[in-house]
Amino acid sequence: MVGQSKFRRTVNAMGLYGAILAYVAFALFPIYWTVKISVTPENLLYSEGIKLWPTHMTLKNYQTVLRASDFPRYFLNSMIVSIATALIVTAVASLAGYALSRFRFQGKAWVSLVLLLTQTFPLVMVIPPIFRIMGQLGLTDNLYGLIVIYTAFTIAFATFLMQSFFDGVPKDLEEAAMIDGCTRVMALRRIILPLTLPGMGATVAFVFTAAWSELLFALMLINSEDQKTFSVGLLTFIGKFAVDWGQMMAASVMALIPVCIFFAFLQRYLVTGLTAGAVKG
């Protein structure tokens, strides 16, 4: 009896670790392959195309991308756009999420519904009108236009996230502080803000990654070389030099590094933050 249960435990543990291993392999293999191509010398790119690791390794692609291309510029542009969008969205979504979490008011259900329905808007449908409006405002072909659009598209989901984070903070804490003579703003700053900081971190991470990887708008709105974001810049590797795969993958790996570090660091807040709020769904 004991022996059998021990046997079953071992089988269960093996199944658990096997499944985990499968998930990790599935998640990492494509990223690994990108890295592999980026360090493969050009003459081995096709002859050793399906080898797990090339017989020679080179960092030449990285050097070329950093020294001889506009990539550093694209990278900087993407950084500016993504960080600005993430900060603006988190600030605006925190306010909106707070309102939806803490107040009962007429029209609340409608606000939630409108926010939700903005997620159904086909992106491609709003591009031509946005392009026209942005043109009139002088916002095409510069980074401000991108920041405005990314803000609008991520704000709904960010608001829901922040709402669930605020829901996770007991209302009593704030009310107690307000009875003790704090104004709402003071209560917010001293009690709510510190407790929802992980949630804000998670929202920043979510918005940052979304802005970092967006392609279609950036492609539509940006023409000049010095305003391109990195995803559009990567496309130029296809157009200009008859696809230099090694360089492209080297550029990709470098583009992945900040966003992966950022995300790996913040993903646990996403889970813990959502856990607190999930009860009320």
């Binding site: 998640a27 096709y46 399906i50 605006v92 159904t120 992106l123 031509p128 995803s231 990567l234 992966c260």
Partner: protein
């Protein structure tokens, strides 16, 4: 005495007004941005669908373009493809995501590291996801065709992206890879919020692991599942980047979805009027779907 009463009344009114106004003040930046950048362009976009745009002029076309929709063979193909693309991607994203969430809820060595690693695909830019998977499916520079050939899925190691019958699986697999973390994160959070006592009580009552899953876990996860599946469905259905990068709708239109078709109509064929008409169709379908799911969720929530 009366003065005090008057100020008290004053105070009461002031409070009432601020209570009504306060949430709207907090909401206003978000609503303002959404109205100007999404809703106004959407309305203009809808109005485009009643106009025929040619190179030099535009003329009012009424419902003509909607009539064209009815007989557009390419669109009918794209509708079927959109259904496949959405259902296929969603099915695997959801079940693999749920599996991952339940795994990550168990204690094991190195769980924090594993969690950080398996969530990484979400951070990879879509464009890059598409390119990388195209490489993996390529028989000259990628391993997958040889793996498929070795296990007998394919009769020869060729890219699945080049054949109309298999091409859709390429973007779907890439999309599943990219989308698992979203479900895993949200469902893991929801699973962690279920009180442990419920499982203890169920175990005492002699419930098996399967019964605990169906009678405790699933009912608690249901509201989260409804909302995430809905959002995800909509995101996938309107998601053109991946397909555009990997197959551009081909071969022979076999991966052409409504989203890629709108994109091609608007920016390749430069027919933004017709593109808008197709987009309105997609929008109507998605809003109808969203409202049905919200209603279902409401009914579900009432049961608890």
């Amino acid at each position: 005495m009366t003065a005090i009463a008057a100020t008290a009344l004053d105070e009461k009114w002031r409070r009432r007004w601020s209570a009504i106004l306060e949430p709207w003040i907090y909401l206003s930046p978000a609503l303002l941005i959404i109205a100007t950048v999404l809703i106004v362009p959407l309305i203009i976009g809808i109005s485009y669908s009643f106009w025929k745009f040619t190179a030099f002029k535009s003329q009012f076309a009424g419902l003509d373009q909607y009539r064209t929709l009815l007989t557009d063979e390419v669109l009918h193909g794209a509708l079927v493809n959109t259904a496949w693309w959405t259902v296929g991607s969603l099915f695997f994203q959801f079940f693999l995501g749920l599996g991952l969430a339940l795994l990550l809820n168990k204690p094991f060595h190195g769980r924090k590291l594993v969690q950080a690693l398996v969530f990484l695909p979400w951070a990879v830019p879509t464009f890059l996801t598409g390119l990388t998977w195209s490489w993996l499916f390529n028989p000259i520079v990628g391993p997958l065709p040889h793996v498929f050939f070795a296990i007998g899925l394919q009769s020869e190691p060729v890219t699945i992206l080049a054949h109309p019958s298999t091409a859709m699986w390429g973007p779907i697999i890439a999309n599943v890879w990219f989308g698992i973390p979203f479900f895993a994160i949200t469902l893991l959070a929801a699973r962690k919020s279920i009180p442990g006592e419920l499982y203890e009580a169920a175990a005492i009552d002699g419930a098996s692991a399967w019964q605990q899953f169906t009678k405790v876990t699933m009912p608690f996860l249901a509201p989260t599942i409804a909302i995430t599946v809905m959002l995800r469905t909509v995101w996938i259905a309107t998601f053109a980047d991946l397909i555009y990068v990997m197959t551009a709708g081909g071969p022979a239109g076999s991966t052409n979805t409504i989203a890629t078709y709108i994109y091609v109509s608007a920016f390749k064929a430069l027919d933004k009027g017709y593109a808008s008409a197709i987009a309105v169709l997609l929008l109507v379908l998605l809003i109808a779907y969203a409202l049905i799911v919200i209603q279902m969720r409401r009914v579900l929530m009432k049961d608890f």
